[in-house]
Symmetry: C2
Subunit: 355 residues, 2 copies
Amino acid sequence: MSELKNDRFLRALSKQAVDVTPVWMMRQAGRYLPEYRASRSKAGDFMSLCMNPQFACEVTMQPLDRYPLLDAAILFSDILTIPDAMGLGLYFETGEGPRFKKTVRTAADVDALPIPDPHKDLGYVMDAVSTIRRELNGRVPLIGFSGSPWTLATYMVEGGSSKDFRLAKALAFNSPELMHALLDKLAQSVTSYLNAQINAGAQAVQIFDTWGGALSHNAYREFSLAYMQKIVDGLVREKDGRAVPVILFTKNGGQWLESIAATGATALGLDWTTDIGEARRRVGGKVALQGNMDPTMLYASPQRIRQEVATILESYGHGSGHIFNLGHGITPEVDPEHARVFIESVHELSDKYHR
Amino acid sequence: MSELKNDRFLRALSKQAVDVTPVWMMRQAGRYLPEYRASRSKAGDFMSLCMNPQFACEVTMQPLDRYPLLDAAILFSDILTIPDAMGLGLYFETGEGPRFKKTVRTAADVDALPIPDPHKDLGYVMDAVSTIRRELNGRVPLIGFSGSPWTLATYMVEGGSSKDFRLAKALAFNSPELMHALLDKLAQSVTSYLNAQINAGAQAVQIFDTWGGALSHNAYREFSLAYMQKIVDGLVREKDGRAVPVILFTKNGGQWLESIAATGATALGLDWTTDIGEARRRVGGKVALQGNMDPTMLYASPQRIRQEVATILESYGHGSGHIFNLGHGITPEVDPEHARVFIESVHELSDKYHR
């Protein structure tokens, strides 16, 4: 593997000094980019993009080529690859979210679920990781990722997206032992999946707990955080003499940062409802912080975007330990030039906090 | 006006001793009740129910008749009556949320908006309030309500519901003076609307800030909380020798309770992501707390519902200042017998905290 030329992202995660605050964007390889839309129509559909390592590599590189200041690449994939590899049959309906052909609602359903072998059943992801690492050639680090067990479970029980997670929650409330059996299988699967990504070349990993924040504070601890804890405990944390950081991102988890930090994760992802300065005071001694501009701010003027970047940098304050990002994924209608303003502002306005 | 026979709700709001914890449910007059669905089909549609004081009274009374242990009634109405009275033309498409025929996006649009006269332009609401008060005959107190200025503004700018409030937020970010002019008109309108409800007989009022929690912490203070503060400052706070409490409910506002409590509101509504015991430690000296069972818990078994009620009561602990409620509105598919279990459990399990 070639020498890492830009290690700002990894240095900030371990709170080593940096020259400027590193920045990347959740869903940076996405529909807001015309070159992404071209690749996608060439590939046919979204899952064909994910499942073909050449295409996955191509779209992973696109934002880096367009925005040379980006400090990290993230594997192009879907959060639902694991349930798909478990045999549930992931598909996408146009205009709808993801769907599964089979759902998981009974003890027999849970018993029947295999724990996927990441090399055999998710080999296309490992191939994508090693292809991208080769293509990156040390330019920036590569982030691997997975959905959290609870987040995956909601889709598996509901059969797709949901507004209120009625079925998944009712299962958790009425048959907690069944939900725990499902979550336990998922935690094992995510652990081996992320470790395989690390072994294939991912230099950091992020767990997307998109729906943990829909739970009550107690249910969050029992059904989401406990399983992210198991994963954190089971991950490879050092590779080739370098720490492999793990970032936990629970959307709407701002009230629970202390508990999330106590897992031993390297960093917490923050959405835009949290004041990053307060978050630093609450947990910054323990973890690095990633975030947290409202992605909707990218619909504002370039001047307003710069001002918001400045406000967030000032709120975090001096010193390392901050990875700038949006508070959630960039949305399809954003003007790519606004994303450029965002990325460039972070480097331009942050150097004074690192002198 | 007749003597109030059950003042548990009002006593808890002012932290006077109660025998058991009072309980009501957001959206308690709603589609989960077959008698409500019957009234609605008799009336024709949702807005005809709201605009006819007899029908509004009929559906307000239904949950009280079915569940005699409920400790409060809430006016049956919609949060969007004010923008409708401003001339935007509220309508509902089947299966969709609310829509407006006209949107508000320019300075000319904002300038053209009248501040509704609550008696002339929203007389049907005042008639509903006085009709319900008469019909209640002192059984339980009547709660009046309004949407918050920010929440109303999102619908007015977007023209209906929205996933990410892109247009409303871009307006706030790019033309804050325009958004402030709109919010200021709305705050004036809500203040006179709620005062008219109080004068017509509402014994407490609640402001529903359904979408404040979609804002960043800074934007929340600037665009939502500041205008709820104006309303709190302008409300009639005593009537017929009794305090008129005001309850502020920002969904997803759990990180901001200290700021919300500082407005001078009587009570804060909590959604289920907040630990009510922690909330009490944070702000309980200043305000009463209302909430906060996950409404999805009503899809669980009666036994599990009871257990959750017990957990929340135990978390709040001994003494007055807690009004039990769901953390958001009850949903249409809930079994009415599960709502009964919820309501009855609150009284049954709470008396030990008031001895």
